[in-house]
Amino acid sequence: MSDLGVLSHHYKASADLARELNQAVVALKKQFYGLIRGQDIPAEQMASHRRLMVSVLDTLLAEFTPGTGSDSEPKQTEPTTQAADQPRLPIPASIVERIRQAHRGTMPRYVEDLMSTRSRLLQDGQSLNEKDVKLLDELAATAGLDTAEVFRRMWRK
């Protein structure tokens, strides 16, 4: 059997995440940098984008927080108002590993950054700073890279 079937599953999962995350980051940047129509984005739409980004951060924190194990929820040392019924967002393991490798040497600091950004997203995103935007944009970039890599593997089939 060819790899196509399994690559196709992987591609779909990565591409869906890349697309949704990029869309959320675009909306966030429009507001943060005061771009045209940035303030016209409906509040409910922004809230939905923030929920998605919080879900991504929750999944990563569960993976990267030492001692909690990958099947546990992140440590709740910051205020949280996330709906308890939000299931953990499935993120392709290859994306998690890309992020883990990129921050392997500075993981404790990176986990702190993830938690800070998560906390500010939960506070209506009003206090988000440039560093948060950069962190979220980097996650969208990683999802895009992973998608492109899987796509190239399908291309070579």
Binding site: S2, G5, S8, H10, K12, V96, D137
Partner: protein
Amino acid sequence: MIGDFLRGLFYDLVHRCQVLRSLLEHREHHPDVTGYAIQILDWIAQIEGEIAELMADPTLGTPPLLVNNLRDYRLRAQLIKLLEWFPVPAVLRYGPSDHYFFTLTSRVASQINYPLPVPIVFAFSKDYYWSQPLFNLIGVPALEEHSLLGLPDMFHEMGHLLIRERRDELLGRFQEELRAHFATEKQRVRDKQKPPEYEVILERVQEQWIDTWMAEFASDMMATYLVGPAYGWANLRLCSSSLSDDVFRPGPDDVEATHPSDDARLRGIVNMLDVLDLETDARQIEQRWGDYVTLTGHNAPQDYALCYPPSLLEHLAQLVYQECTSIGLKAYTEQPPASGDTNILILINDAWNEFLMKPDEYLQWEEEHLAELRRGLGV
């Protein structure tokens, strides 16, 4: 200006969509694929709509968003390419061989109570059997039309299509169990103060299980559920044709491959045969596999079991069985004995029995039964 270049790229995509649409609209399609062509046109229209929305956004090409715009472009460009490579040629070149397989698959779908639309089959694959779950498409090599022994592999591809539609039900619970298993294993590595490399291996193995191996094992198990022992024998036939260099690879030192090792896959198939209570077949296939491995001279590398824990495979077989049953798929063991219309599941297993018992006479047997099958299908 890079912004203008990006805008040009989007215009180029719009053009490609128009060409694809035109190719499909100005052609009379075979009745098997008329609906599929409409579905492809819908996919194209959806992408065109998304591109139009992106291009109408006044922030397109502004410096803070350039990198995001490029990502948006790439995702749409990839989809257009996939349409161009897979479903569009399958429709434009649809011919008698594709029709034979579509008719065969339609009959199979009814016999196994397949809950999804019957996939379109592209009968000129250069890459053995494959599936494109994104587009409900299966690829089959040209010679398969003239044989019965390789047909079980089609059920593996149908398994991929089922996973695409019902991933959460089929694999969601197992994925969480996988995470828990590897978290425990990593803790064990720390507790026993093993070298840190072990933790890296476990992380990579977990990644492969979640992204690729889990779906591959589950598709094998679904195929076994549907077509029974014939899938195990077809797997042994495939391995014998030297598609892999070593039946124990990938192992702990090279986990990057999308497919798990042939040995582990065979174990998974045997696990499903056991769940189906087909113990005699399971032991025969296991024994023949052992003979084959001895012939190859391959040996399992150190720490091989880290990659393919037997308990995980056994548990996955049980979960796949439960989910197949719950969605109403008919197991091979539930297929009625042949009467009236040819039961293709039974026919494939009969073919394998004949091949194993009378290899010298098999080709004559196959020729007669293929002709009968064709008559029954009306193709």
